[in-house]
Structure formats: structure tokens, C-alpha cells
């Protein structure tokens, strides 16, 4: 029953999307057909399909292959629901759901658009929907039925049975797919309208929204890796992580270049290219994750035939958009030259560095595949490569980021700028020195990190005070400016967090018996107990550590080692004591005779990584809400 409803909904949706796409032919007629009803119906049918799949998961309907392969009656309800997108087919359905949801949002709420342009944009959006639905129906249908109905399912990968990862994909998809609407807006503009400030204003809120959710999605994933994978890092430069970082970097560049287009009516072709690239890298990201071309810790779903299909989809969108731009580029007229000492000048440097970072990550990720293909040699490109290159490229970006918002458009004078920077430089050096004084052990590069964080922090704050005349004129604040301030401060805090977490981390691996203790900085951790635990679909062990600071009891920490019998898979549940300034982290490993191996971390500033990311998210949303509520 569920399968029938699901399949029928998908078929209706694909027909509707194709019909909407065909509307492009009628665009020059006097009366343009309003796309609203079609788009709403697409949304309705995909929603129906999605909820029927969710229903099948909740009631454990194992007659559906997808449910059988990824669920189990003993699984907690939350993970039955989130299990819908914990697999390839379901996650593609979620992808399309977000896709049509964005179309729905535009058709209903974006009142800035005139009818022909709106129709055209939504028709291109429908083309994307059509292609992805075709992919789902032909090679990734979640509603395939098996008979006879199995008694129980094979359960979901236990690593995915976790709140952090349960909500990571939807956020990431809002980010990825939001970039699709920017893509459609851009393509449609080639046929109706020109690339001027008004176009920049149209796409800006959607870029902001996508960027914010990409930020949130990526940080949720990194947070999950931190406490669930059990080795205490937050970023591994894994191909799948890189796949999510590339669209983020591209969207960051796009976010800033639209500013230039909006204010100065230049960088048009570049902004168009970035709009295309942002969506292209979302698709390439999907390809890298889903095709299994790259071996990765997270490559949960992989199948080469699907890979070919997704690769064809990527190629279709990327080539058609590039060729369109190449053909029409002659008709796009750019304005004037730019002065390097101006806001647009700094944004160009920002764009250069973002794109350089993006391409470096892309090359680093695919280099091993290419090398093996041409020479047969196998190499790895791992964290040491990416850490080095990202520090070298992002360092200068942060340097510029601090003062860029303060500079005037068109032209600013260097002398005035430098005099303002003196104060900021003094304060950041002071902070760096204080850190050096408190914690002189770390490597020099750590001080560079702290300096950059402080430099960005004070620069942003300085700008805030200047603009509000030292808080006297708070009405000068609009949400766009405030959003920028919050997001940039978030980045500063994030950098401090990364520095502390990677360079000042104290790590111990110890084999302990019950009753023994371990010293970590000023803390002592007493291993008091170990007991067996039993959850709904797992068994395992839980250790109890009493945490003391200078003989004062603080907290009991309970790391777990779980084993999921259905999937024969162990997981680590780290115990973390977070104080805002630092984390105490315990992960439990294997037993040896009567003792257990534990991994202890004292990671200073680590919570700041997520505080900073959340601030960046809030900043983006603030700015988005201003634009959306003011003009829509």
C-alpha cells in the first residue's frame, strides 16, 4: 500500500515537473501561465512520497526493501524516523523534497519577482527536479517491494544512530539544494532580464540561506565526528568532508561577490560563474559521496552504476551552464575598473583566496584517483597536506577580513586605514602575548593562530563601534550589518577554537584497571567502576570516571563502548566535560585482560569551534531575515 502511494506520488511529481519545464516554450507569449499551482502540487506529491516512506519506517513495514535493509523493529523511534535519510534512496528523496520545497518558497513568498522571470526560474528548477526524480525512479527507488516480507530488518549503521548525524544531512541538503535555486535564478536571467544590482539583490537572500545551513550542517557533522568516532578530532579532511566544504567555500565567495555586483555593478561574469560553480560543487559533492569513487570513512552508500548516473547529471548541468556563459559573455557589460584599496578590492582578494582554497581541496581530493589512473601509483593525500595548504591560504584571508568591512567603497586612503589598524594591532598583539605568557609550551604557529583570531575579533568589534558611534547610535544598525558582525566574530572565535584544539591539545592513551587514575593537566580522573549496559538495540560497557580538580570533585564522566549485534558493529560514545574554555574528553577502547584502553584529551578552546560556527549561522540567518522581510 505504502509502496503504491509512494510510487504514484513520484510519478505524478515527475510528470508535473516535466510539464512545468516545457512551459519554457511559452515564455514569450503575452499571457504567461502562472506556475504556482504546478509547483505546489509537485511539493505536495513529493511530501506525500516522503511521508509514506517515513510511515513505512515508523511501522517497520519490511515489505519495502529499503526499510528492510536499513531498519529494525528494536530501533528507537527517533532513528526509525531519521533512518529515512540514513541511506542512499531515502536521502535522494529528501534531496528532492528540499528541492521542491525551495521552489514552493519562491513561488509563494518571493513577491519581488515578475511573472515571466518567476515562471522561467521555476521551470528551470523543475528541470532539476525532473532529472533527480528520473534518477530516483530509474536507479534509486525507495519503494521497491520484496516478497515474501522478511520478519525483521537489517538495522541502520549504528554510527548513524545518533542525534548529531540524524540532523546533519537535512541541514546540509538545505544548503546544497538552496544553491540550486540560485542556479535557476541565474540561468533564467540569461533569457529574461540583465545581470544588474537587482539580480544580485534577488539571489542574495537565497545564497545567505544556503550558506547558513551549509555552515550548520558541516558543523553538526564535525561535532558528531568529535564525540562519536572516538579519536577526539573534529575535522579529518576526509573526502566526504571535503565534498561538503567545497560548496561552502564557493558560496562564501559568491556571498561576497554579489555585494560588489549590488553596490558597484561589476564582477558580473565572475558572479555568474560562482553561482554556477556553487551548485556544480554541490552536485560533485553528491557524486563523490554516493559513487564510491573515493574510499572514505563516511562513504556509507556507494554503487558505481549510480555513480555514472550522477556523473552524467553533473556533466549536464555544468557543461550547459558553462557553455551558456561562454556564448553570452559578450553581451554582459562590466563597469569600470577597481581600486585595490577599496571594499571591492578586498572582496576580490577574498574571492581569489576562497577559490584557491576550493580548488586546492578539489585537487587534493581527486589527485590520488588521477595519479593511479595515469601511472598506477597509489598515494594518499591526507590531513598534513590540507592543514598546511589551508593555513597558508586562509591566513591571509583572515588578515584582510579584519579590516575589509571598514573600508569604503570605490576608494579609501591608505594612511587613514593604517592609523585605525594600529589600535587593533596593539590589542591583538597584547592578547597573543598574554596567551604566550599563560601557555608558553605550544608551537609558534599556535600563537599565529591566536593572533589571527584576535586580529579578526578586534577588527570586527572596532568596525561595530565605529558604525554605531560607540553604541550611541544603535539605530544605525540594520540586521544585514549586525549579521555580518556576528558571523565575522563567529569566525574569529572558531579560529581560536581550532588553534587550541589542534595545537594545544594534551592527549594520553592509557591502559587502566578499576581503581587506577590518570592525571591530565590540573585534573585527575579516577577510574571507579565499569559496568555492563544494555540499550534497546545494543549491548556494551560503561566506565565511570570521577573528575577532580585539585582534590575537589567536579563530575562523574561515563564513556561507553557499545556493540550493535544486528549490524555486528561497535561504536564509541565519548564522555565530554565541557567548561566553555576547554573540554575534558574520554573515549573508551578495547579491553585487555582486566584492564581497558582509554584515550584522554584535554582540549583547550575546543567548544569555541562550535560556538563560532553557531554564531556564523546566526549571523547568516540575521542577514537573510532582514533581506527577506524587508523586501518580500
Amino acid at each position: 500500500m505504502v509502496a503504491i502511494i509512494g510510487n504514484i506520488s513520484l510519478i505524478f511529481a515527475i510528470l508535473l515537473s516535466f510539464y512545468q519545464f516545457l512551459n519554457i516554450r511559452n515564455i514569450n507569449k503575452i499571457r504567461v501561465l502562472n506556475p504556482d499551482r504546478n509547483i505546489s502540487l509537485q511539493f505536495f506529491f513529493i511530501l506525500t512520497a516522503f511521508f509514506s516512506l517515513m510511515f513505512a519506517y515508523v511501522v517497520s513495514d519490511f515489505s519495502i526493501l529499503n526499510v528492510y535493509q536499513n531498519s529494525h523493529t528494536a530501533k528507537p523511534l527517533l532513528y526509525k524516523i531519521t533512518g529515512v535519510w540514513g541511506n542512499h534512496e531515502g536521502s535522494m528523496l529528501l534531496w528532492v523534497l528540499v528541492l521542491v520545497f525551495f521552489g514552493f518558497l519562491i513561488s509563494r513568498y518571493d513577491k519581488r519577482l515578475d511573472l515571466p522571470y518567476k515562471t522561467l526560474t521555476l521551470s528551470f528548477q523543475s528541470l532539476i527536479t525532473f532529472i533527480f526524480l528520473l534518477f530516483i525512479l530509474l536507479s534509486s527507488n525507495p519503494f521497491v517491494v520484496i516478497s515474501p516480507t522478511p520478519v525483521n530488518g537489517q538495522d541502520l549503521n549504528p554510527l548513524l544512530q545518533d542525534p548529531g548525524l540524524a540532523f546533519h544531512p537535512p541541514n546540509l541538503y538545505i544548503g546544497y539544494v538552496g544553491l540550486s535555486i540560485v542556479f535557476s535564478f541565474t540561468i533564467a536571467r540569461f533569457y529574461k532580464g540583465s545581470f544588474d544590482a537587482s539580480w544580485a539583490k534577488l539571489i542574495k537572500p537565497w545564497v545567505l540561506l544556503s550558506w547558513s545551513f551549509l555552515t550548520l550542517g558541516i558543523s553538526l557533522g564535525s561535532w558528531w565526528a568529535y564525540y562519536e568516532l572516538g579519536w577526539g578530532g573534529f575535522w579529518f579532511w576526509d573526502p566526504v568532508e571535503n565534498a561538503s566544504l567545497m560548496p561552502w567555500l564557493c558560496a562564501t565567495a559568491l556571498l561576497h561577490s554579489t555585494l560588489v555586483l549590488e553596490k558597484r555593478n561589476t564582477l558580473k561574469k565572475w558572479t555568474i560563474l560562482l553561482a554556477f560553480l556553487s551548485f556544480s560543487f554541490s552536485l560533485i559533492g553528491t557524486f563523490l559521496v554516493r559513487s564510491g569513487i573515493i574510499t572514505s570513512v563516511h562513504a556509507f552508500a556507494s554503487d558505481p552504476t549510480r555513480g555514472v548516473f550522477i556523473l552524467m547529471i553533473c556533466a549536464f548541468f555544468i557543461f550547459s551552464s558553462f557553455i551558456l556563459l561562454a556564448k553570452k559573455s559578450g553581451s554582459i557589460k562590466e563597469e569600470k575598473l577597481i581600486s585595490p584599496i577599496s571594499k571591492e578590492g578586498t572582496i576580490i582578494f577574498n574571492n581569489l583566496l576562497m577559490v584557491a582554497m576550493l580548488l586546492t581541496i578539489f585537487i587534493g581530493t581527486i589527485y590520488p584517483i588521477f595519479l593511479e589512473m595515469f601511472t598506477g601509483d597509489q598515494i594518499s593525500v591526507g590531513p598534513p597536506y590540507f592543514n598546511l595548504t589551508s593555513t597558508l591560504i586562509m591566513g591571509p584571508a583572515i588578515l584582510i577580513m579584519s579590516f575589509a568591512p571598514m573600508i569604503n567603497w570605490k576608494k579609501d586612503d591608505l594612511v587613514g586605514l593604517l592609523s585605525r589598524l594600529k589600535t587593533i594591532l596593539f590589542l591583538s598583539l597584547l592578547v597573543t602575548f598574554i596567551f604566550f605568557y599563560i601557555n608558553f609550551q605550544g608551537p609558534i604557529i599556535a600563537l599565529v593562530g591566536i593572533f589571527l583570531a584576535a586580529w579578526l575579533f578586534f577588527g570586527t568589534l572596532f568596525n561595530f563601534f565605529e558604525k554605531t558611534k560607540y553604541l550611541k547610535k544603535l539605530k544605525n544598525l540594520n540586521k544585514t550589518f549586525l549579521g555580518m558582525i556576528v558571523a565575522h566574530l563567529g569566525v574569529a572565535i572558531f579560529i581560536a577554537g581550532v588553534t587550541g584544539s589542534t595545537l594545544w591539545k594534551v592527549e594520553k592513551i592509557k591502559t587502566l584497571k578499576v581503581g587506577e587514575k590518570v592525571l591530565l593537566n590540573n585534573y585527575s580522573l579516577n577510574f571507579d567502576k565499569i559496568k555492563k549496559i544494555r540499550g534497546k538495540n545494543y549491548i556494551g560497557h560503561e566506565a565511570e570516571f570521577n573528575l577532580y580538580k585539585k582534590n575537589k570533585f567536579i563530575k562523574t564522566l561515563k564513556p561507553q563502548k557499545r556493540f550493535y549485534p544486528v549490524q555486528e558493529f561497535p561504536t564509541t560514545e565519548a564522555a565530554i566535560y565541557s567548561r566553555g574554555l576547554s573540554d575534558i574528553y574520554i573515549a573508551m577502547s578495547e579491553p585487555i585482560d582486566n584492564s581497558w584502553i582509554f584515550r584522554f584529551h584535554y582540549s583547550p578552546l575546543t567548544p569555541w569551534i562550535w560556538i563560532g560556527s553557531i554564531m556564523a549561522f546566526i549571523g547568516g540567518i540575521l542577514s537573510f531575515s532582514h533581506r527577506i522581510f524587508k523586501r518580500i
Binding site: 579519536w231 578530532g233 579529518f236 576526509d238 573526502p239 574510499t295 572514505s296 570513512v297 575598473l337 577597481i338 581600486s339 585595490p340 578590492g345 576580490i348 582578494f349 581569489l352 577559490v355 584557491a356 580548488l359 586546492t360 585537487i363 587534493g364 589527485y367 595519479l371 601511472t375 601509483d377 597509489q378 598515494i379 594518499s380 593525500v381 591526507g382 590531513p383 598534513p384 597536506y385 595548504t389 597558508l392 591560504i393 592527549e507 577502547s589 578495547e590 584502553i597
Partner: protein
């Protein structure tokens, strides 16, 4: 005389402890650059797999024997190939990889130059 003896023992002992700690640190540094080939994207420092454990022990032993990082990575590459290094070596296979960021930046600067006003 007895005092001197104790002093010598103490210094020797403390030096040993110190050296041991240093070696530990050095070993961890190397571990982070060695790929756990069974687990694909992890370093052996991050992994609990059997091979990763054996390699950690091996690296520590080699350091105790007085081998340096180069000799240890050479030893591993001889057996597992360059795949085992998370930090690719700078050689004919990887010139492009390592120089790519630089090439991209220079090319970008070249493109930007056209937009900026002289002066």
C-alpha cells in the same frame, strides 16, 4: 660519595624519563602522518585496528633503536608503498599536487591585475 652516587643515578634516571617522554611525543607525531591502510581515511594514531597498533609499537621500537623519522617512513614505504604516507612526498608524482595552490594563486593574481586601476 654516596650523595654523588645518588645524584648521578637521579640525573640518569630523570634524563631517561625525559628522553622517553620526548620519544613518545616524536612517535605520536610520526603516527599522525602514517595512514591506517585498513581503515582508509584514518591515521594509525586515530585507529584501534590491530595493524595500527602493531605499527605504533614498531615505530616506537625503531625510535628507541635511534632511527630517525626519515628512516622509519622509508622502512614503511618499502613495505606498503607511498600510499601509507598521509603527507605525500615531494617528487615527480606529486609536483603538481604540491605546486597547485601556488599556481592557482599566481594565475588568479594575473587575472585580477587587469581589473585594478593603475595607481
Amino acid at each position: 660519595m654516596k650523595k654523588l652516587f645518588i645524584l648521578i643515578v637521579l640525573t640518569l634516571f630523570s634524563q631517561n624519563v625525559f628522553a622517553d617522554e620526548n620519544l613518545d611525543k616524536k612517535a605520536r607525531e610520526i603516527n599522525k602522518k602514517i595512514r591506517c591502510v585498513v581503515c582508509q581515511s584514518q591515521s594509525i594514531d586515530d585507529s584501534d585496528s590491530i595493524l595500527a597498533r602493531d605499527l605504533r609499537v614498531l615505530i616506537k621500537e625503531k625510535l628507541n633503536e635511534g632511527k630517525n623519522e626519515k628512516e622509519i617512513t622509508d622502512y614503511l614505504v618499502e613495505r606498503y608503498g607511498e600510499f601509507i604516507l598521509l603527507k605525500p612526498r615531494f617528487n615527480s608524482k606529486t609536483y603538481f599536487l604540491w605546486l597547485a595552490p601556488l599556481i592557482i594563486l599566481l594565475f588568479g593574481l594575473f587575472l585580477i591585475k587587469g581589473i585594478f586601476k593603475k595607481n
